[in-house]
Each structure stands twice: as structure tokens, then as C-alpha cells.
């Protein structure tokens, strides 16, 4: 593990207005370059809040975050240039075509002209969407939308990419395409921070995971090492259920 983390989180706390409980409760964590880091947890555990703070959408109540050496409170503009976001929602415009959506988001990252169009063509082909590029997003299947949602976060070649449940509710084929691509870009040096409810997926994909519950990190490490250290649970899902309990969450 390299010594210098690409993301450093210290005592990060977020308390929403009107709430007495902290959504994120003083977590500290280092994420290193070229990791695929999984943030796992039940609904309302604090995963999306943590990612929203890391990408500058939310302000932390307390704590410190540095990304690639930049403090998020003072250097957010620089941080925004090197991170990519793939939100949980299909954050696309349904009445624009796939190509128009990607062109617009590419423009927002300062990409224009030939460079942008070559990138869009490349990604559309890579994700099997080239034949559908000029159809409006509203006419895409769930899996196709997820793939465009992912491409929109990759167009500017980010150093770090945040993915909030990128494979939720899609067909197996689309899931395989997405996960394979994530592994490929990770091999090229992109650090990936990823949240999911799919434990098996996280176990296979992630180099390290943090299990979060009620705003606290309750387990941290390589998923296979976590399973090895707790042989009675056999897999990550059992460890997860053991740590977070079996009662359902809202």
C-alpha cells in the first residue's frame, strides 16, 4: 500500500438540520491510489452522505477531507476537475438523446469539438450503445440508462471516480459490462470508490471495503481477509448481516 493516501478523511461528521442523530459520525479513513474501495452498509447507513461530501455536493458539519492533496473546503474547484461521479439516480435528461446528454456533460468538464466527439464515440461503442446514440434517453432500457449514466462520469478521464450503487436494478449483461469496465479503468490507474448493496459483487470487485452503519465504520479491510478472519461466516454477506443486524431498515 503506498504511503500517501489519495483521499484522507478525518473525523468526518454530518448532522442534517432538524436531526439529532449524525448521518456520518466522525469517521476517519484513508483511501489509496488505484484502490477499488467499497462503502457498504444498509439503507440510511451514511454511504450516500459520505460520497456527497467527498464530491463537494454537501458540506460536512465537522471534520477534514483532502483529495489528491487538496483540502475540500478551499480547493473544491481543483478537486472537481479530477473526480467523476456516477450518481445512484439516472442523472440524465430523458428528452435528450444519449449523445446529446454526453456532449452536454462533457462540455461541463471543458471538453469540446473533436476530442469530445471521439470520446463519446469510443465510450458508446465500448458499452454497446453506438446504435442507440441518437435515441432519447427516455426510450432506453434500465440497463442502457445505467451505462450512459456511467459514461457521463468517465468522459473527462477522472483520477478518482465515485459510484453510488452503479449496478442497482439492471440486467446481468449490463452489470457484467459495467463491472468489467470498472476493473479495466482501475488497472489503468483510476481510483474507484463504490457503494453497493450487493455483497458478492463487492467481494469480487473491491480491494478494500468499509462497512458503515448508523454513520460509523464498523469493519474495514480486504473483503477476502475479512472472510478469512471470520471463517464461521463463510462470506462477506454473512459478516455484513452479523455486524449490521437482520432487522429491516427504512
Amino acid at each position: 500500500m503506498p504511503e500517501q493516501p489519495i483521499i484522507g478523511i478525518r473525523e468526518l461528521t454530518k448532522i442534517y438540520k432538524g436531526s439529532e442523530e449524525a448521518a456520518v459520525n466522525g469517521i476517519s479513513l484513508d483511501i489509496y491510489p488505484n484502490e477499488i474501495f467499497g462503502l457498504l452498509g444498509p439503507n440510511g447507513a451514511g454511504k450516500t452522505t459520505t460520497i456527497s461530501i467527498l464530491c463537494g455536493f454537501l458540506q460536512a458539519t465537522r471534520g477534514q477531507v483532502t483529495i489528491d492533496g487538496h483540502d475540500i473546503r478551499t480547493d473544491l474547484d481543483r478537486i472537481k476537475q479530477i473526480i467523476g461521479i456516477v450518481p445512484q439516480d439516472i442523472a440524465l435528461y430523458p428528452t435528450l438523446t444519449g449523445r446529446e446528454n454526453l456532449a452536454f456533460f462533457g462540455n461541463m468538464y471543458g471538453l469540446y469539438g473533436k476530442v469530445l466527439h471521439e470520446k463519446i464515440d469510443h465510450y458508446l461503442a465500448e458499452f454497446g450503445l453506438d446504435k442507440h446514440a441518437n435515441r432519447t434517453i427516455g426510450k432506453y432500457s434500465g440497463g442502457m440508462k445505467r451505462r450512459v449514466n456511467l459514461i457521463a462520469g468517465l468522459l473527462h478521464d477522472p483520477k478518482i471516480i465515485f459510484l453510488d450503487e452503479p449496478t442497482v436494478g439492471i440486467d446481468v449483461q449490463s452489470r457484467v459490462v459495467i463491472l468489467n469496465y470498472l476493473k479495466e479503468i482501475n488497472r489503468k490507474g483510476v481510483t474507484i470508490i463504490y457503494t453497493s448493496h450487493y455483497m458478492e459483487e463487492a467481494e469480487n470487485l473491491c480491494s478494500r471495503v468499509a462497512i458503515i452503519d448508523r454513520g460509523n465504520i464498523i469493519a474495514l479491510g480486504n473483503p477476502r481477509e475479512l472472510v478469512r478472519a471470520n471463517p464461521e461466516f463463510k462470506n462477506l454477506e454473512n459478516i455484513f448481516l452479523h455486524l449490521t443486524g437482520k432487522e429491516m431498515r427504512d
Binding site: Y16, K17, G18, S52, C55, G56, F57, L58, Q59, D77, K80, Q81, I83, I85, P87, Q88, D89, I90, A91, L92, Y93, P94, T95, L96, E100, F104, F105, N107, M108, Y109, G110, Y112, T136, A152, G153
Partner: protein
């Protein structure tokens, strides 16, 4: 700049693909202006060639006074005088019944002997006056007695407006006094001639001494007659411009709820750039709306028999006015869209507030018809500032100097809306609550 243009392009594409939204922005106002102008035209008195208000007239007098009042109604051009129904001459009771049933709104009944009563009373008044000068005719005075007043009955439907009632009563009264004046004058002359053989009565009658000259004072030498077109085209143009609050707030909230705003705010682009992109596009929409409405006023309204819109003669003033009205409308939409949490909230508050501001601002009912309290309240509506500005241009031949107060108020409204939007966003980011 490139980022800003990209935001504008995206907004334009979203707008162009929303067919229902486009219909609401461009077709609805044109339809509204045509319907409202047609409905209000008789109220503005421009369709005088084509009487529109039927009036039942029962002439039991069958003499000069009844005929004079009848002619007065017919010559006014505002009434279609009806004296028989189903082939039968109207009577007091049948006219009353027709109004009671709601088939007609007004009936005028001239009583029997109205002329002879009036003439007898005039003759008595003249005789008494001359007696005061020692010129009395004792035998004549003895033969005359004062008769009861002439009672003209007018039946009104309860829905008839007071102003209209006044017009009908005024018309009867005017013809009655005209007739009475004529007869007083004639009686005097006749009596004077009878008692003073050398007396030469004047040949001209004094009733023509008073004439009216109507004029609409304007800033320049423009001949613009107020009519429903001159009122409705600017009024509905302003309404349409402010109604972009609906698509604009929908666009803002859709972006927020769909997650696109989340993605955009994590990109190297500011919220104000995103907002200003919308402002740019919706300003263009407002300008196109204005052109469409003016074109409808000039070419479409005359096709349905309405007066043609007469533009003022200061294009710069009209451009300036349109631009600041558009800015005020877009600023208001931006503010509502940012403050509202849901589509429903924005749609309900946005549309109702525009309707209230329009009603308050005198877009539907002229301000001079409002009670004094409402007249002072209307001064706080930006739609009132807008209509005042357009009236200055369209009706009074005003230019930039005359519309300056309204332009300044609308600009300040835009600046305040943007400031509230920016402050609200910085204090209360979408997920920071």
C-alpha cells in the same frame, strides 16, 4: 462562455422537445388574446355599428316623448331595440316577464300619456313664470293643474352591471330633458308672441349649443383609440411572459429531483452559470412570445372583426419594455423554482400567484374600476408596472423617458429575484437541510 452556451443549448433542446410546454407558451396566449378581445370588444364600444345589447321597448305613449326616447336608443348604436316578441307587440307585463325569465336583460316602458302630462306641466310652469312678470293669463292659469310625474319603468336583469344601468337610465333622462327643454322654450315663445305682438322668437334652438370633443392626450402626435385590442394584446403578452414560471420551475425542479443537478454541482460549473443559462433561453422565449402576440394583434385580430393593433412609434421603448418584463418574469420563475421543494408546490404557487398578480395589476379589469384599496394594492404588482409601461407606449405615444419609471421598477424586481435565488441557494443547498 462556452460552458454558458452549452447550458443554453441544452435548455433550448429540452424546451423544443416539450410539445405541451411549447403549446402553453405560444398557442395558449394567442387563443386567449383573441377570445378576450372578442368578449371585451363591446365593452370598449368599438363595435357600435353592430348593436349587441337587445333592449325591449314598450311605447304606451304613442306620442312625441316616447318616439324621442326610442330614437335616442336607436341612434346610440349600443342597443338593438325590440318592440314585439313572437309577432305580438310588447306590453308592460310581457316585457316584465321576458326580463324575469332571463331571456332579455333590459326593458323600458314609457307610460301612456307621458307626452301630454309633460306638456301640461310645462305649460303650467311657463304660465306661472309669466304671471310673476305681470303677464299672466288668469283664465289659462285657472284651466291648468299640476299632473303627477311621468313614471318611466325600466326592468333590469339582476346580473346587469351598475354602469350599464346608468347608461340606460342616462339615455332616457337625456331624451326626456331634451324634450322638456325644447317645450319650455317653445311655450315661452308662443306665450310671449301671443301677449307681445312685436316679439320675434329666435329661429335657432339652443340645444345645439353644447357639443363634445373627445380627445386622448398623448405624448406625441399619434392617433391611437383605446379599444380591446390595444388593451388585450399587451395584457396577455405580459401574462404569457409571466406564465413561463411554470415551465421554468418545472425545468429547475426536474433537474433537482432527477439527480442531474447533483451531478452538475459536482462538476466544475457554478450554480449561477446553470441558472443564467436558463435565464438566457427563457428571455428569448419571452421575446418570441411578444413578437407572436404583436403579430396576432396586427394580422390575426382584424380577421375576426377586431380592431388592428396600433404599435406606438418608439421601437426602442417597446424593446426595452419587453426586455425588462421578460427579465422580471424569468427572475420570478427562477426564484419560485429554487424555493419550491416539489413540482406540485411550484406549479400551484407559481400559477396562482401569477393569476393574483395579473388580477391585482389590472390586466383583466382596468384599475380605475377597482375600489380604492385595490387601486393602492395594485401598485405593488410587477404586472401592473408592465401594463402601465405598455399603455404609455401603445396608448399615449410614450418613449423611453416616459417608461423609465416602470423599466427601473421591473429591473429592480429582476435583481431582487436573482439575489433571493442566489442567497437561498447558498444558505440552503438542495441536500443541506
Amino acid at each position: 462562455m462556452k460552458t454558458y452556451l452549452s447550458v443554453c443549448r441544452k435548455e433550448m433542446l429540452l424546451l423544443v422537445r416539450d410539445k405541451a410546454g411549447l403549446a402553453m407558451l405560444f398557442i395558449m396566449p394567442v387563443v386567449l388574446v383573441v377570445i378576450s378581445s372578442l368578449m371585451q370588444e363591446s365593452g370598449w364600444g368599438e363595435l357600435s355599428k353592430d348593436p349587441t345589447v337587445p333592449l325591449l321597448f314598450v311605447n304606451n305613449d304613442h306620442d312625441t316623448l316616447g318616439t324621442q326616447i326610442l330614437n335616442g336608443f336607436m341612434q346610440s348604436g349600443s342597443f338593438e331595440v325590440i318592440d314585439s316578441l313572437d309577432g305580438k307587440p310588447l306590453s308592460d307585463s310581457s316585457a316584465r316577464e321576458a326580463v324575469r325569465k332571463g331571456a332579455y336583460t333590459i326593458a323600458v316602458v314609457i307610460p301612456k300619456g307621458a307626452t301630454s302630462t309633460l306638456l301640461a306641466n310645462v305649460r303650467l310652469a311657463v304660465a306661472k313664470t309669466l304671471a310673476g312678470f305681470g303677464m299672466g293669463d288668469a283664465a289659462l292659469l285657472q284651466s291648468l293643474t299640476l299632473r303627477d310625474s311621468v313614471n318611466v319603468t325600466i326592468y333590469f336583469d339582476p346580473a346587469v352591471k351598475r354602469t350599464f344601468k346608468n347608461a340606460v337610465v342616462g339615455s332616457v333622462r337625456e331624451n326626456y330633458y331634451k324634450f322638456q327643454g325644447e317645450w319650455v322654450f317653445r311655450s315661452f315663445n308662443r306665450e310671449m308672441a301671443r301677449q307681445m305682438p312685436l316679439y320675434q322668437p329666435p329661429k335657432e334652438f339652443f340645444s345645439e349649443a353644447l357639443r363634445f370633443r373627445e380627445e386622448y392626450p398623448s405624448y406625441r402626435e399619434v392617433e391611437v383609440i383605446p379599444n380591446s385590442t390595444q388593451h388585450n394584446v399587451p395584457a396577455w403578452t405580459i401574462f404569457a411572459m409571466f406564465f413561463i414560471v411554470i415551465p421554468l420551475t418545472q425545468s429547475l425542479i426536474q433537474e433537482r429531483e432527477g439527480g442531474s443537478l447533483f451531478r452538475l454541482l459536482t462538476m466544475p460549473v457554478s450554480y449561477m452559470t446553470l441558472l443564467m443559462g436558463k435565464v438566457g433561453v427563457y428571455l428569448v422565449v419571452c421575446l418570441i412570445q411578444t413578437v407572436a402576440m404583436l403579430a396576432a394583434g396586427i394580422w390575426l385580430l382584424p380577421l375576426v372583426g377586431l380592431p388592428k393593433l396600433v404599435l406606438g412609434n418608439d421601437l426602442a421603448a417597446m424593446l426595452a419594455m419587453t426586455l425588462v418584463v421578460a427579465m422580471a418574469a424569468v427572475g420570478y420563475g427562477m426564484m419560485i423554482g429554487t424555493i419550491s421543494r416539489t413540482h406540485q408546490q411550484a406549479a400551484a404557487f407559481g400559477s396562482i400567484s401569477i393569476i393574483i398578480l395579473a388580477a391585482m395589476g389590472g390586466l383583466w379589469v382596468p384599475i380605475y374600476l377597482m375600489p380604492s384599496f385595490m387601486r393602492s394594492v395594485s401598485a405593488i404588482s410587477p404586472l401592473n408596472w408592465a401594463i402601465k409601461g405598455y399603455y404609455d407606449i401603445f396608448l399615449r405615444g410614450g418613449g423611453l423617458a416616459q417608461i423609465a419609471p416602470q423599466v427601473i421598477k421591473l429591473l429592480l424586481f429582476f435583481i431582487s429575484s436573482v439575489a433571493v435565488t442566489a442567497i437561498y441557494h447558498s444558505v440552503k443547498k438542495p441536500m443541506n437541510n
